[in-house]
Amino acid sequence: MQDSIETSQAVLRPPDQAGVAEPPGESPGSQTPMIVFDDVTKVYEPSVVALEGASFTIETGEFAFLVGASGSGKSTLLRLILKELEPTSGRVIVGGRELGRLKKKLIPKLRRNVGCVFQDYKLLPRHTAYENVAYALKVQGIPRREIRQRVPEVLSMVGLAKKMSSFPTELSGGEQQRVSVARAVVNGPPLLICDEPTGNLDPDTSVGIMQLLYRINMLGTTVLMATHDREMVDKMRRRVIALERGQVVRDERRGGYRAIEE
């Protein structure tokens, strides 16, 4: 019933370096940071302070975890990167472009260059697993032939080769989550943001997904991942940004889920 997660590396593509990753008018040698948060505050009307003065920089090619208690502002931070929300104050810069100044017309282009695994999956209910993943390619005008090849590859990678023609309502929670992962990575975006991509997965499947993200990162994609999986964070020893009540309280190069003083 469940496919094993394939590990063929062939289908993973290096990110499209002509995308937002490349700021205009700068030499390819000196990489601009992928994400810059500059004193960003987000207040939901009327008075919920979800983020408060968050400042950090994520370099191109980094792999960073975002941790914090439930309600600490992780999803809010990620949604700012997609320009799904506007910050109340401060600047968000993605791939060298300040999002506050990004023209409305260019928002779709930004989003095509930022793969996103949503906490609530956000699958299209009237599209099958295959079509959901294909949609992310169709919006870019990728030729049909290429879509027909890439989508099954990616779905096999997340262990859903046999569920391609199932609709979201016919998939288990974890299967839906994996479709969301597949959709985020299918077009090899330079930046990948994942909001708890393993929350509904058993430990084994989680490890498979993490390996996939790891490999994608190795090929040059910047990955920012919000998670509650303590074990995973502790094992990976990557950069950890910790939020507490909307404030960045810890930012370590090779951190664990908890601060060391604990």
Binding site: L82, E84, P108, R111, R112, F118, K122, L123, L124, V139
Partner: protein, 289 residues
């Protein structure tokens, strides 16, 4: 390529969405059916009132000693009037014949023919009656008097204008109502899918990429609805009407509705426009993600 994608998305959406598709199509169907019925009925009634108006007559009575020359000159003058639809010359002998049939006792006692020669002019419409009468002012030589049914003319003209007004107003109201109803239905059906639109936008779809299939869907609903309405109207005209309306009236020559083709064309155009534009305009609200 893009078009093909739009079509496939629109059809998927239509079939995955039977409930809302049927609802939208049904609304277009009803709106267009009512509109079509009204246009057909309205144009028929207008033509009928036209015909009734056309039965009004202006009569020109000549003096007993009018010369054929004078009569001809008036005749030429009348023929030149565009408002005069038909002109008949009723000689005094003809007039006496008519009267003899109505009141035989009366005519039997007459020593000479007291009736004058006359022209009977049928105008194109009620408002033409007075134009024709005015054209013979001052009365040409040889003409005794010009008469026309002033009160009846007034009356017919009023009734006709009321009928025209009522049907025009009703058609406009129906058009507005159909527009609102269809826009409404489309709005609801899109509202039910606003989350879907949000997701599309979040994975990088441009506004037109989202809008395309929805508008095509609206167009298809408009098409299906309009065609069904036309078929229903056609069936109604062919099978229901003849059985229900006495042939004496239905077959009235001179009275006719607009051609069915024209009505069908109007319906089709309005339906398609409402479907596509309705979807396009409604979407704007939900594309701001």
């Amino acid at each position: 390529m893009r078009t093909k994608l739009f079509f496939s998305e629109a059809f998927r959406s239509l079939s995955g969405n039977i409930s809302t598709t049927v609802a939208a199509t049904l609304t277009v169907l009803i709106g267009m059916f009512l509109l079509g019925m009204f246009i057909a009925l309205g144009s028929w009634v207008l033509s009928w009132s036209d015909q009734v108006e056309g039965q009004l007559e202006v009569r020109v009575f000549f003096e007993q000693d009018a010369t054929p020359n004078q009569i001809n000159r008036v005749g030429d003058q009348l023929v030149a009037l565009p408002q005069a639809e038909s002109i008949a010359f009723v000689s005094s002998a003809d007039a006496l014949d008519r009267m003899e049939q109505e009141f035989p006792e009366l005519v039997a006692n007459l020593s000479s023919n007291p009736l004058p020669d006359a022209f009977e002019i049928k105008p194109g419409s009620a408002s033409d009656v007075e134009v024709i009468a005015a054209a013979l002012e001052p009365v040409p030589p040889g003409v005794e008097s010009v008469t026309f049914p002033r009160e009846v003319t007034e009356r017919v003209r009023e009734v006709a204008s009321v009928i025209e007004f009522v049907f025009l107003a009703a058609a406009v109201i129906l058009l507005i109502a159909s527009t609102i109803l269809i826009a409404n239905t489309i709005r609801l059906s899109i509202f039910a899918r606003r989350r879907e639109i949000e997701v599309m936008k979040l994975v990088g779809a441009s506004n037109w990429f989202v809008r395309g299939p929805f508008m095509l869907e609206g167009l298809i609903c408009g098409l299906l609805g309009s065609i069904s309405a036309i078929v229903l109207l056609f069936l109604g005209r062919e099978f229901a009407l003849p059985k229900l309306i006495p042939p004496a009236i239905g077959g009235d020559s001179g009275v006719s509705a607009w051609s069915f083709e024209l009505v069908a064309l109007i319906i089709l155009g309005v339906g398609l426009l409402l479907g596509a534009a309705g979807a396009g305009i409604t979407l704007r609200r939900f594309l701001r993600v």
